[in-house]
Subunit: 312 residues, 2 copies
Amino acid sequence: MKIGFDIMGGDFAPENAIKGALLAQKELSKEDTIVLIGDEEKAKSLISEYHGDAALFEYVHTTEVIGMGEHAAKAFTQKQNSSIAIGFKLLREESIHVFASAGNTGSMLVGSMFTIKAIPGVIRPCITSILPKENGGMGLILDVGSNADCKPDVLYQFGVLGAIYAERVYNIKNPKVALLNIGEESEKGNLVAQAAHNLMKDSKDFNFIGNVEGRDLFNDAADVIVCEGFVGNVVLKEAEAFYFLLKKRGLLDEYFHRFNYENYGGTAILGANGNVIIGHGISNDIAFKNMLLHSKDVVKANLPHYIRQKFN
Amino acid sequence: MKIGFDIMGGDFAPENAIKGALLAQKELSKEDTIVLIGDEEKAKSLISEYHGDAALFEYVHTTEVIGMGEHAAKAFTQKQNSSIAIGFKLLREESIHVFASAGNTGSMLVGSMFTIKAIPGVIRPCITSILPKENGGMGLILDVGSNADCKPDVLYQFGVLGAIYAERVYNIKNPKVALLNIGEESEKGNLVAQAAHNLMKDSKDFNFIGNVEGRDLFNDAADVIVCEGFVGNVVLKEAEAFYFLLKKRGLLDEYFHRFNYENYGGTAILGANGNVIIGHGISNDIAFKNMLLHSKDVVKANLPHYIRQKFN
């Protein structure tokens, strides 16, 4: 398997990206190769500095970088020799099996839509985040920011996509899918949630268990929680705020350690017609390592195949 | 001052309501009387059971109770001798200065609109919650559930209402008002947030400091955070979920203790043409006590006067 890796993306790239690649390489099998996409000379010099073996990697040299704050679409179309643009070119040509980056999220989404595109039938691809459950399990929330406003049919599709992701990547059998809402009753919520609930309630595409509330985010009520990207993003950042407050105050126990983004290493773009992984902008070496290992899991899960099957 | 108190509202009423009234009575001054609205005989028997002095209270006997799960408008109009309906009748007649209840929130909102009504010019009254800041200060978020969908001009008005509440009740001078969003830049967010940002950016009605994100809920970026009720409700319940997880795991420190709802005792309905306080459905004795003390603060702050002035 060839794992394409944007070493220029993220606040602490390329240094931490290279460190992460060295860590991941040790855990991958011989059949797997990380393709470092970015400044080749810099990559080799860092690998040498960190006492790694540059021969264990492949390289695709690029000369431009899309900054974290740049306008997503403009930067992607104008910087055709950026690590992100080249990464998507390689993915479309099938020179790599997956493309992973912690760079400009907007440009990653635009890149997906411009090159590999959405799987036919998927209205809006989306991104997810992990919700650590108190019982030791793991939940998913989607969308977490790529689609701020969602129509009810888009929320319905998030249920389909989330269920496939939970089942294929996280091995959750027949995942419980819920709609994030402000009350348990079907008539509760804003107009979009009310309409989405109506679409979902007789779903044969996933195991819909009804509405959940903010208080259910970390319990076992649901495995997949669906919401508009605006709400999901606020939920995610509130959880991060709590994590950092606990960390700062020395209150992290075994459970709350699981809120550390470093452990997860990113999310697939669900519904894209290929394997794309978006990492956290503040990724450090551990987060990069886990992003690369997660990339392998995602390729093995063959998500686009199962999503295509469902949307056919 | 006469503080009207629905002793039948809340999951643990009337027992905890009476306990709370006894605690509050000790902290109020001689000029203040709590008017117990509900089953008079039951109230007196509980006061005696808890070794209180029944003569220190006034009583308005009612014979019906609106249940926590009942349809808000239907129950309010049909149960005209319920503690909530009678409470609003007393408030409209000015027999009490404030009406406080931890009962059916929907019926409390409906009751406000049917009896004392909104202050002219206020499109949608709303409810708030406290955000404990890590620096020891206190922030406000609104709306937290009474208006799931909001138009941009409604969000703008929440900025006005929140600033008055923060200034008059919590003594925050020239409070920093922010819009809850998913990015700092003005063009970020869903359509409502984008439009609201445009309305707010040149506001002379409050001190608008721009967008904040989920990660800013507990820092000092803003004093008043404005959002649609759907989002605010999810934010609030997520914070509660964290609080209960921390409590269960024995991780509460001085700061996180401040997330305990018992300390705050409820929120005024901002924009109603009178003083109405809504408590948490799960209020215990301490929460009821603090709801009654908060009621006094709200009356003294004379919010309807200042809101009327602003919307004139």
